[in-house]
């Protein structure tokens, strides 16, 4: 048994320590928000955060998580109230939606590091694949959420 902290909760798992975090979350802990897209770190559908940094969880073995704070899409907000979630809904960003959990987790990590990101910042930090081609709206959603966060902070 090993315990990891996910969305602020300590959860126990009997998964083998070599199991990628993605499958620990999905199959052992029942958190299916992070998605399997490629399994080789290419697509970003599995993106979660560990200690605030975006991580492609299909490549991170359970053993590497240690005491790190894991955050998944399920922990982004309790009620869809995160500015990114609101922007995504207002702008109808998702098509099939399968890639969007990863997009959102990458975007949130970006906004924490760069509250006022340029397009180049977004390109660099949100390099996830979306086969439906929602990129235009993902970018717009990030800018909108960033503006709202700055406004509420009264910056």
């Amino acid at each position: 048994m090993q315990a990891i902290v996910v969305n602020g909760k300590r959860l126990e798992t009997d998964a083998d320590p070599s199991t990628p975090l993605l499958w620990v979350l999905r199959d052992h802990l029942g958190l299916t928000g992070a998605k399997f897209g490629c399994g080789v770190g290419q697509c970003g559908a599995c993106t979660v955060q560990i200690d605030g940094a975006a991580v492609r969880s299909c490549l991170a073995p359970l053993s590497a998580v240690g005491e790190g704070q894991v955050k998944t899409i399920e922990g982004l907000s309790a009620d869809c109230s995160h500015p990114l979630q609101k922007a995504w809904i207002e702008l109808n960003v998702a098509q099939c939606g399968y890639c969007q959990a990863g997009m959102l987790m990458a975007a949130e990590a970006l906004l924490k590091a760069k509250p006022d990101p340029t397009d180049a910042d977004i390109d660099a930090m949100v390099s996830n694949i979306c086969r439906c081609g929602t990129y235009v709206r993902v970018r717009a959603g990030i800018h909108r959420a960033a503006a709202e966060i700055r406004k509420t902070r009264g910056a």
Binding site: Q42, C43, S77, N92, D123
Partner: protein, 741 residues
């Protein structure tokens, strides 16, 4: 507004009270009395708590079909948007109740492709109107006032003079008892307040952004096992041997299951939208407690395969060469108008001739193929991200051998379709594995590599075109010979130039029998032929010394649909067509049309014109800077939804043309993952600008998913020509030599 009027001779509206809810459906008039005793096919229900449920046969694949169906109902029903949600209509119910859904919507009623079939639009508007009138009548009875004094809006019935109100849910049960001599007429379009105006917000959007949306991959059932699947790497090959002992002791391993296509299947047949139910592929699956365990064990499992006849088609070069060779010789006539062969044989006329080639491509849906089934001798349950649940149902029946009344398809959300999940070969494999583990739900997952190497690919297409130009420089005769694997005439026979603009028009074709499996891929064959024809027309323009835009305008003036010209003019103006660009930069234009109902005919389907602006370095590095698109689909119901499909279609067309190609070695698909099959990412995107100014307002609501995929590639290729003088006749462009001096 004749496109939307329910066929009253064939259908009538039926209502029932079910558990306090008003349920509204439509029945065919000719249904035998008593055949409907088991109930009605619900299209809509209004519960006592005001919840409005719209039953939709077509799965949501990201194109917003559920939202659109709800909008149609809400327009007539006048319910509050927050009360409405959509649920899948089930193929089992359809089967058991005289095909009530498919009778109303046609053979492809369950197929997730286009979302605006007139039959479905009509029916949804009608059930919304019929429900509203019954609610009003019930309120009028309750208050003993004339119906005309009652307003229905925002899920409230209001008596205008007294100000009394009732919620829809409060009279739902009573409304089911209202009998009407005649069903209400639909609102005239001029009174629509929702359709064509605004989008109320995509249904299910919150679940996508909070991670609770359930795709096929997210199905979790008590006692569920996972299976990792591998199928014969040479399509059509067979499993020769494997060694279970080598992995038996690995953690979590439950069993190894063999899928053998030659095992007898049942004879139980149910109606299916696509008559070819697909064969099982020869394969082996490792079943384990968790997916990662299954995957590790499968990777460790010693397996040997027999290649079969596919080994003869060892490489894509060989297949391509065979296809191109076919195009050089006369083949079967598919279409002949005028006397193209005679004209082309004439001496003296200026002739243009060129052969084009497009490769196999995979859909790479973001959600890899997967599905979950629980098979017992008495019952089969399938949880699946299908694009075609009725097809899934027919295949699940046949593969499991369970009586259709006990076969249940539970549609999940779908992580992208693009045609890959239409034929349901994935359903076949899921049930084939699960039936060997009876009594336990088995979630079968294709790795990305397995998904990519066991595709039903975009066909490989080769087409040679020859045209002779008349005195005005326009083509007066045109011959196309196409070939390839899975290739068809779509986009050639169905192109507008065949219907007026080019008087002598001939198409011949013959496929190559290579073993690589193909299938529908967003705008099947159109996506290849639009590239070829629109590039070739550009070649004709160059040969005639004409501006490519003017040339098309002249040619399309002979086509009986002014919207084509409008699309070209809008896109030219918005893109700054004709403005000077430095060397190494260029603009290219293309226009094409996709129609599911009357392809190639004027005022049908959706026409899209595109202008691309590109930059090509001397070394041959290509950057697409800007894409402008103008389109005509008649009218739009959901403007933002249409915009999203066009944006996504542009990205799809870009990726297909710039990046995508599968290669074959030893008869097997080489590429397995995104590192070998590159995809556009956010930073690679040009400025994509979609213009609504060319909408004709004609009486149709054509689909917009497939059409934009057509003109992007040729617009880019034509822009490359403008920039470099190099004519590019193959995709993907990333593999072509674009260098110039």
């Amino acid at each position: 507004m004749n496109a939307i009027s329910i066929d009253r001779r064939r259908f009538f509206v039926s209502v029932a009270a079910v558990g306090g809810a008003l349920v509204v459906g439509v029945q065919p008039r000719n249904a035998a009395a008593g055949a409907l005793a088991s109930g009605i096919a619900p299209w809509l229900s209004i519960a006592s708590d005001d919840t409005v449920t719209v039953f939709v046969a077509t799965p949501e694949i990201g194109n917003g079909v559920l939202t659109q169906c709800a909008m149609l109902v809400a327009e007539e029903l006048g319910c509050a948007w927050s009360h409405i949600h959509a649920e899948p209509a089930t193929p089992t119910f359809n089967y058991l109740n005289g095909e009530l859904y498919t009778k109303a919507m046609g053979r492809l009623g369950f197929f997730a492709g286009r979302s605006t079939t007139p039959a479905r639009m009509t029916t949804l508007l009608q059930v919304g109107a019929s429900a509203r009138e019954r609610l009003r009548a019930a309120a009028a009875q309750r208050w003993q006032v004339p119906v005309s004094e009652i307003e229905a809006r925002d899920s409230l019935l209001r008596h205008k003079s007294s100000g009394r109100t009732l919620r829809y849910g409060e009279v739902a049960e009573q409304a089911a008892k209202v009998s009407m001599a005649e069903e209400p007429a639909l609102k005239p379009q001029s009174q629509w307040s929702l359709l064509g105006k605004s989008r109320p917000g995509k249904l299910g959007a919150a679940k996508v952004v909070d991670g609770s949306a359930v795709y096929g991959m997210d199905v979790r059932l008590p006692g569920m096992l996972y299976a990792a699947l591998r199928q014969a790497p040479v399509h059509g090959g067979r499993l020769k041997s494997y060694d279970f002992e080598a992995i038996r002791q690995m953690p979590g391993v439950h069993s190894v299951v063999v899928v053998d296509p030659s095992e007898p299947r049942t004879n139980i047949k149910v109606p299916a939208p696509l008559p070819d139910l697909t064969q099982a592929a020869s394969g082996v699956a490792v079943v384990a407690e968790h997916y990662w365990q299954a995957r590790q064990a499968l990777d460790a499992l010693p397996v040997a395969w027999e290649a079969g006849p596919g080994a003869d088609w060892a490489t894509h070069e060989k297949i391509s060469a065979a296809a191109l060779a076919v195009c050089e010789a006369p083949a079967k006539e598919v279409l002949s108008k005028g006397d193209a062969l005679g004209r082309l044989g004439q001496a003296g006329a200026k002739t243009v001739s060129a052969a084009y080639l497009t490769p196999f491509c995979d859909h790479v849906t973001m959600e890899p193929l997967n599905g979950t089934a629980l098979v017992t001798p008495e019952r089969t349950d399938l949880w699946h991200p299908s694009q075609n649940p009725q097809q899934a149902f027919a295949i699940a029946v046949e593969e499991s051998g369970v009586h259709p009344s006990n076969v249940h398809v539970h549609q999940t959300l779908v992580g992208g379709g693009f045609g890959r999940r239409v034929h349901c070969d994935d359903v076949r494999m899921v049930v084939a594995v699960a039936r060997k583990v009876p009594g336990r739900p088995v979630h079968v997952i294709w790795s990305r590599e397995e998904s990519m190497r066991q595709g039903r690919y975009r066909p490989l297409v080769a087409t040679k075109m020859t045209a002779s130009l008349g005195e005005d420089g326009l083509p007066d005769a045109f011959l196309a010979r196409y070939s390839g694997v899975g290739a068809s005439t779509t986009g050639l026979v169905t192109c507008a130039y065949a219907n007026g603009p080019i008087p002598n028009f001939r198409v011949e074709g013959q496929t190559v029998p290579a073993h690589i499996r193909t299938g529908p891929y967003r705008g099947p064959n159109y996506n290849a032929h639009a590239f070829m024809v629109e590039s070739f027309i550009d070649e004709c323009a160059a040969a005639a010394g004409a501006d490519p835009l003017d040339y098309r305008l002249k040619l399309l003036a002979r086509f009986d649909d002014p919207a084509w010209t409008k699309c070209l003019k809008v896109v030219a103006e918005k893109s700054g067509w004709g403005g000077r660009l430095p060397r190494g930069q260029g603009r290219g234009v293309a226009i094409s049309n996709w129609s599911a109902t009357a392809p190639g005919q004027p005022k049908e389907g959706t026409t899209v014109a595109a202008v691309a602006r590109v930059e090509v370095s001397r070394a041959g590095e290509l950057k697409v800077r800007q894409i402008d698109m103008a389109f005509d689909c008649g009218q739009v119901i959901d403007r933002d939804g249409v915009l999203a499909q066009l944006e996504g279609g542009a990205v799809f067309g870009l990726n297909m043309s710039l990046n995508e190609m599968l290669t074959i070695r030893d008869g097997q698909v080489v590429e397995g993952n995104y590192n070998e099959y590159p995809m556009l990412r956010m930073g690679d995107l040009p400025d994509i600008r979609i213009h609504f100014d060319a909408l004709s307002g004609n009486d149709r609501y054509s689909e917009v998913g497939e059409p934009p995929v057509g003109p992007i590639g040729p617009a880019i290729a034509n822009a490359i020509f403008a920039a470099t003088g190099k004519r590019i006749r193959q995709t993907p462009f990333r593999l072509q030599d674009l260098s110039w001096a």
